[in-house]
């Protein structure tokens, strides 16, 4: 349960980071607040668009999906179901691979680093680590035989 809660929190933060970059790509607001990074160089490069859509939009959709799955998996009825862990691990793996490709482009093709992208990379990597570790953790036991509930002892 803890891992799903952590994933939901990470995904929520990641969603807002991606939302900021996507709204900026749509022309909402002023310049990107980037500190010492080179966000505009990255965001205006031709790599900022993938299959005709801003890269940040994939982030918005991806994080939202992970968030929704994590929250749904937190329902009491779903807590014991391990398939949710597998689904979260699968989604975050796609995210981490996509992010790895984008980070490669930043470092070796665009030669500029966007702090927000680095932030998102850290978030999705943390999500992925938690999701993968959750696959190894034992399932929540609901079988009374396996996890005996306290019973009244005979006097």
């Amino acid at each position: 349960m803890r891992s799903r809660q952590a994933i939901a929190l990470f995904a929520l933060v990641g969603f807002f980071v991606a939302l900021y970059l996507w709204l900026h790509a749509l022309g909402v607001g002023g310049t990107l607040k980037c500190g010492t990074g080179a966000c505009e160089t990255v965001q205006t490069s031709r790599w900022a668009v993938f299959l005709g859509l801003p890269v940040a939009l994939y982030g918005v959709v991806g994080y939202l999906l992970i968030f929704v799955v994590a929250v749904v998996a937190l329902r009491p009825a779903a807590l014991a179901e391990r398939r949710w862990n597998a689904l979260l691990a699968g989604l975050s793996t796609i995210g981490v691979l996509f992010t790895a490709w984008l980070t490669y482009l930043e470092l070796f093709v665009i030669h500029a680093i966007c702090r927000w992208c680095v932030g998102s990379a850290v978030i999705i990597t943390a999500t992925w680590i938690v999701a993968v570790l959750s696959l190894r953790s034992p399932a929540l036991r609901t079988d009374p035989a396996a996890s005996p509930l306290p019973r009244d002892r005979p006097a």
């Binding site: 929190l9 929520l12 900021y20 022309g27 310049t31 966000c39 505009e40 205006t44 929250v71 500029a112």
Partner: protein
Amino acid sequence: MNRFYVVLAVLAVVLGITLFVLLRPSSGAAKAAAGPPPSVVDDGFRGYTLGVGDPVVEITEYSDFECPFCANFATIQMPTIKEQLINTGKVRWRFRDFPLPSHRYSRYAAHAAQCAGEQGKFWDMHDQLFYHHQWAQTGKDPSALFRDFAKTIGLDPQRYEACMTAGRFASRIEFSRQEGDRLLVNGTPTFFINGKMFNGSRATSDTFKAIADSIIAHTPPAPRAPAHH
């Protein structure tokens, strides 16, 4: 469990407020650098040049950093021109600003190049502006991107910022534009080859090579100093 949803809701509100603050429009492109100056003064500057030696051919280019033809010319034709004509000492190339009124940020871009020129890096900024020309198609405030360019080419960021905020070269850019007006420049890029207008906005490097070679072939060699016996 309920406590977790409270944490989630509080976090969402905090992040939403942060997003709202981040999206508030900033001061953006400095007005002094983005618009025409209140008055125009001739500071004696006649454009940055490229070239070696004392070539017999001088080509002056009136250009606009936001103009797509100028970007095509700078990125496609100019490398060959540099290699064949400028670096070989055949041609001196002079760059003059001619920001078109239809382009929102061309004065601002010209100003960024001048502020880079103040630090000895005009041509580096010229290349940044033309080789990353996506900024000219988005219509968005490019001030942060130009700041990135300044960092990339190694400008002192504080000097660059002060130059842009003050609009230090706005008058110089307007002087160049008015000069273009007087010479009947009506589009960009427009070239003057040894002072004669050549409206070759789609000319290739081969065209310039042919013209330069022709001028050189028809120019009598400079008289040699008399030999002393």
